[in-house]
Symmetry: C2
Subunit: 335 residues, 2 copies
Amino acid sequence: MSKRVGKQTVLMDKPVYITESFTCAGEKESQGPLGECFDIRLNDDKWGEDSFEKCERKMFKCVLHGCMKKAGIAAGDVDMVLSGDLLNQTISASFAALDFKGSYIGLYGACSTMAESMALAACLIDGGSAERIIAMTGSHFCTAERQYRMPLEMGTQKTPTSQWTVTGTGGAYLGGRNTGAGITAVTFGRVIDMGINDANNMGAAMAPAAADTIYQHFKATGTSPQDYDAVITGDLGALGKDIAFDLLLKRGVQCKDKLADCGCMIFSPEQDTHMGGSGCGCSATVMNGHIIPMIKSGQYKKVLFVATGALLSLTSSMQGDNIPAIAHAVQIEHL
Amino acid sequence: MSKRVGKQTVLMDKPVYITESFTCAGEKESQGPLGECFDIRLNDDKWGEDSFEKCERKMFKCVLHGCMKKAGIAAGDVDMVLSGDLLNQTISASFAALDFKGSYIGLYGACSTMAESMALAACLIDGGSAERIIAMTGSHFCTAERQYRMPLEMGTQKTPTSQWTVTGTGGAYLGGRNTGAGITAVTFGRVIDMGINDANNMGAAMAPAAADTIYQHFKATGTSPQDYDAVITGDLGALGKDIAFDLLLKRGVQCKDKLADCGCMIFSPEQDTHMGGSGCGCSATVMNGHIIPMIKSGQYKKVLFVATGALLSLTSSMQGDNIPAIAHAVQIEHL
């Protein structure tokens, strides 16, 4: 039985183990600083499929099967899949779930989906609703550009504050045996709108949500940045990370040397992605491919993972709306 | 602490009370057989807003505030809002959540969202992650037509198997005091594709998912249709309901006189909606406005609510994919 503390935080009764993780990354991502961490590395944008969308779906299926294979279990051994993605009606996640014969819970949290799915999975397992869950998400640069921005063929120039949607999928198999990492607390974020309406500056739109969730988590758990080896945001990018840092400082939280961002880790400056990586696949690959293994090995003892999502659509932007954002936090410890 | 039984079902340790419900319905829906049941009845499609999408959002906000007002509570008394909708990136739900200062969990289950959100809320409350949750969803005929089909101005003729997206929103405040109805078990569905690819025949696409979830629920709980006063599907429509009935019969489940469908209840035959109502708002309004009050009054002692969702998008249809579907079940009892 979990325990609610503060306004938005849930403490696990027992740690929910992150038994296995699996990642699949695109060509550019595989050439980046974390390339070696990913289980599957693609050489092109379609992976033998006839559309970018079908490639994205195949990458979701790859992670689903990869998690089970790594853990040595069959589909029948997993109770639920929790997933979502950026495409309209989250088709990548839903169609991939056809390969799984158990319960599917569809989510929409934009780029916060990796944390949203892990946090919900932890609550469902700790509360007795399920024993074993796969939480997964991902994104594809070409499908996201086509849907949210311009056809790639137009060669539209990106603005300086823009980020690069990661081609990558990642997932975690939760609730199996202890392999060194477990979720001990989660904080579900609230939707925040601080007036940003530039769809090419997602980092600024999401930073207040990240700062708020981090603040609420520290407050509810009675901890501070010093209690963690790292506070890792999902995909704020370089600008968003700086804004989140400042916003936390204004609320008396000094994150110096502790704040890191998946969007700033996945590409090197030479890869010319402006503010860095973004998309559901950004934190899905960086966390599952890089950070969680570091927690398992004991290099990190305690990490707060905070994935952020910008909850806009083309329709809302075209109707003049601001960009509301959300961030969910997952506290992961070396066990 | 909840208990998992069978492959997809969760039994609540204690009933999760459906303390209050609130509904907001469009003009056509308000003129239908259940018109009197809805809390707010609109006289036009925009409700003073300058777009259909903003009207839909206002209807979500109306339900959020309505649930709290009816229950006599403030936003601070609710731990979480669980919601989602049909629009790309679920903007109605996300933007409405700006009016709420607590945790928001975004879902995507297409027209299964009312059951998905209620089922998840019940698990989170029973498992200790939250005490009080508002689960809500809805849809708008004009936003759905514009996004999924044709601009209304074209006056495109509807095919005989089509359904009419309900303009309506509904929500339930769960976890407060006992007012006569409670959730005692839930079954999370799996994604099923039986080969239907006609986007104007959603009933046929969703019927196998409904039949499967109903079958799994009976099997896991050791019950049969005779143990329920009604098995109420979300929005299969007239054709889909018949298909679900036949599919259940093939698996040895005789639902005679027990199977009812929200899509068949909300409009009268004279309202010319072909196979009946559909959309997240269909079961959201019919359940919260009509069925749950009947359970509270004791007219129904035990109901299985099974909302169904077609997990397609324009992109998947245009790339030649079938329509995968899902159904989630919520067992509600008079208490």
